[in-house]
Amino acid sequence: MNTGRWIAICLLGLVLTASLLANFIAPASYAEQFRDLPGASPSARHWLGTDDLGRDRFSRLLYGTRISLLLAPAAALVSTLLAGVIGGLAGYLGGGFEGTAMWVTDLFLSLPWLFLLVAVRAMLPLNVSPLASVIITFALLGILGWAAAARVVCAGSRTLRNSDFVLQARASGVSGPRVFAVHIFPNLAPVLLAQFWISIPVFILTEANLGVLGLGVAEPLPSWGSLLREIEGYSAASQPWLFVPLLLLVAVVTCFQVALSSKELPS
C-alpha cells in the first residue's frame, strides 16, 4: 500500500475517532445555548465561535461529524451496491433483461422522488427521534441514488461480457453466477468506487437540503449538512471560520478518493 493511501486512511481514522470521542473532547453539549454569546467569533472558550443561538460550533462539528461520517458512507455503499448489481447484471445478461432494466432505470431517473420523500416523512410519527429520522433519510438516499451510476456500470458490464477472459471462463465451464461474481463484478470496481466517493458529499448536502421537506436531522442534532448551510448566506464571507466544516468535508472526501484508488498508478 502506498504512502498516500496510508496517510489518507490515518486521517480518516483520526477524524472518525475524534467524532466518536466527542462526548469527552467537546467543550460543551451540541444543544447547550450560551445565550449571552450568540454569533460570537472564535475565542479561547469557543474555538470556532458560536452559532446564531449561542451553541458552540466546535462541539457541533464534532457531533455532526459522527452523524455524517458514519451514515453518508453507509448510504453511499448501499447506492453503489445497488448500481453494481442492477447495472452489472443488466449488462452481463443482455437482451431483454438489459432492455427492461435500463428502461426502468431511465424511468427511475426521471420521476420526482421528492414526493416519495415527502410521503415517507408523512408516514413517520412526529415524535420519531432525530437520530431515527436522519438514519431513515440516509437510507432513502442510498436506495434512490443508484440509477445514474447503473447506466455507466451496465455499459461497462456489456463490454466485459464479450472480453476474452470472460469467454474463456465460460468456455471452461464456469457457471454464469460465478462468472459475474468473480470476473465481471470486480472489474466494475473503478466505476463503483467513483460512485462511492462522489455519493458521500452529495448525500451530505442533499440531507441538509431535505430539511426543506422536514427530513434530515431535526433540531438540535447537528450534521455536516446543517453546518454547511451556515455558509450559504450573504454574510458568510466575513466569517471565515464558518468554512471549517467545508474544509473538513473536502479533506475527508479527498482521503476517501485516495484511499479507494484501485491500484498504484502505472509509471
Binding site: 446564531d52 443561538l53 415524535n127 430539511g211 426543506v212 433540531e219 450573504y234 454574510s235
Partner: protein, 545 residues
Amino acid sequence: MKKSILHALVLCGLLFASCTAWSQYGGELRFCVRAEPKTFDPLLVDDDPSDTVRYLTAGVLVRTNRVTQQLEPQLALSWKVSENGQRITFKLRRDLYFSDGSPFSATDVAYTVRRLMDPNLHSSTADPFRSGPGDVDVRILASDRVAIRFPAPVAGLDRLFDQVPIMSSTSPKKEMAVLGPFNIADYKPGEYVLLKRNPNYWKHDAAGRRLPYLDSVRIEVEQNRDLEMLHFVRGEVDLINSLDPEYFSRLSSQAESTAHDAGVSLDPEMMWLNQVPTAPIPAYKKAWFASTMFRQALSKAINREDMARIVFRGHAHPAFGPISPANTFWFNSKLKAQAYDPQSAIRELAQDGFKLQDGTLKDRGGNAVEFSVITNAGNKYRAAMAAMMQQDLAKIGIRLNIVTLDFPSLMERISRTFDYEACLLGLVNTELDPNVQMNVWLSSAADHQWNPQQKNPATAWESEIDRLIRAQASTSDVRKRKQYFDRVQEIVREQNPFIYLLNKDALSGIASTVRNAQPSVLRPQTYWNIDELYLQSHADVARSR
C-alpha cells in the same frame, strides 16, 4: 443699479429653485417581489406580488395613511356611513380620467361594486363585504355621488374601500385602464413588471405639480433574499420590504442610513396546541392541551426576551395578544406582555396534577410530558425560535420535539388530518380592523386553528368570544366595538388558545437616493406613498451630507 442686482439675484434664486424642484421628476424606482404576480385583474388579487401591482396602479376611493393610520380621501372627496354600517354614500371628485383618457364617474364606482359583489367571485377583496345573505343595492345619485347599501351591517365599512380598485365601465382596455399613479407598460413572466407614470393621474403636490414624480417603477421577480440583498448593496434596487434581521444588522453596519426599523409591526409569531377532539393523538395529550393551566404554564416558561434579542437581534418584542401595540386604536393597552417565569410555570403545573421527577415532568397518569411542534421548513427564524423553546421547556422537564415540514404538508395536518400536537406559525396582518379576523375567532370558522369548524362552541370562553365577535360585527359604533374586542383580547390572554410569542419589527432597506420615504409598519412599508417618492442622484446625496 442695486435694483437690477436685486432682480438678478431673485431671478437666479427662482431659476435655482425651479431647477431643484424639476429635478424631483424622473427616474426609475426598482424593488423586488418574491414571486411572480398571478393576476392583473385587481378584483381577483390574493397574492402579495399581484397586490403590489394593484396598489401601484389602482385608484381607490379612500386610503389609510400608513403612518397616521387615519383614513384619507382619494377619489372620493367625502363619504358618510349610515344605517348602522349598512349604507355608505360617496361624493366623488370631478373631472378625473382613467389612464386611457376615459372619464371617471359614479358609473364606474357602481360597475366596480357590482362586479365585486358578484356571488361567483370568491376573493379576499370581496368577501369582507359579505356580511349577510341578499343583494347589494348600488344607486347612482348623481355623476359624482353614489350610494351603496349592503344586506347587513359591515363592520369598518369605509376602511374596506382602501382595497377596492375602481375600474372603468366604459374603457375597451378593461382592467388596464387605471386611476392610480402608474400603469402597466411591460411584463416579462418570471422576470419583471414595468410600470410607467399615468399621465392622467389626478393627484398634485402642494405646489400644484402633477404627481407622481417618478417616471417608472420596475418590479423585479427575485425569490432569493441573498440575491435581493446583493442587488440592494450594489445599488441595483432601491427598496427592500420586510428585511430579515440578519440583513438589517449587516446593512446597519455598512450604511446605517439605508436600514430602517419602523417599530413593532402588526405581525405576531405564535404557537398553539391541538385541541381538536378527534385528532389522532393520545387521549392523555389531549387532556394536557385542553387544560388552561397547562397552556398558561407553557406560556410562562418561554423566554420571549431572549427570543427577541437572539433570534431577531433585538428587532422584535414580546407579544401581548392578537393585536399588536402598533395597531394604536384596537390594541388593549391594559394588557401586559407575559413575563418569563419558569418557577410560576412549575407551580401552576403542580396545581394541575403534574410532577417533576428527576428532571422530567409527568402527569397524573405517570406519562412523561413530551410533545412535538411542527413549523414550516425553510424559515430559519422559526426553527431558531423552536430550538430556544425546546431549551426553555426542558428546564421545566418538558421534552419538545421539533419537526419542520414543507408548507403543503403542514397545511394538510392543521386543516385536514389534524395529525399534529403543537404548531408554531406566524400571521400576516394586512388590516387594522380586527373584524377581518372573524374567521379566526368564531368557533365555527375554518381558521379557528386550535379547534376549527365546531358545531357548537366546545368551551364557555369560546362561546363568549363568539358572542363578542358577532356583537362587534353588528354595530358601527366604534367605541362599542372597541369594548367588545378589548374583552376578546383579555379572554385570549387568559385562556392562551394561541400562545403569542413575539411581534416582529417592520424592517426595511431604503437607498439613500430615495427621497420622501416614510417607512411604516403597515404594508406596503416603503412605498405606500409611491406618488410622493423621488430619486436624488448620488452626487446630490453626497453634496447634501
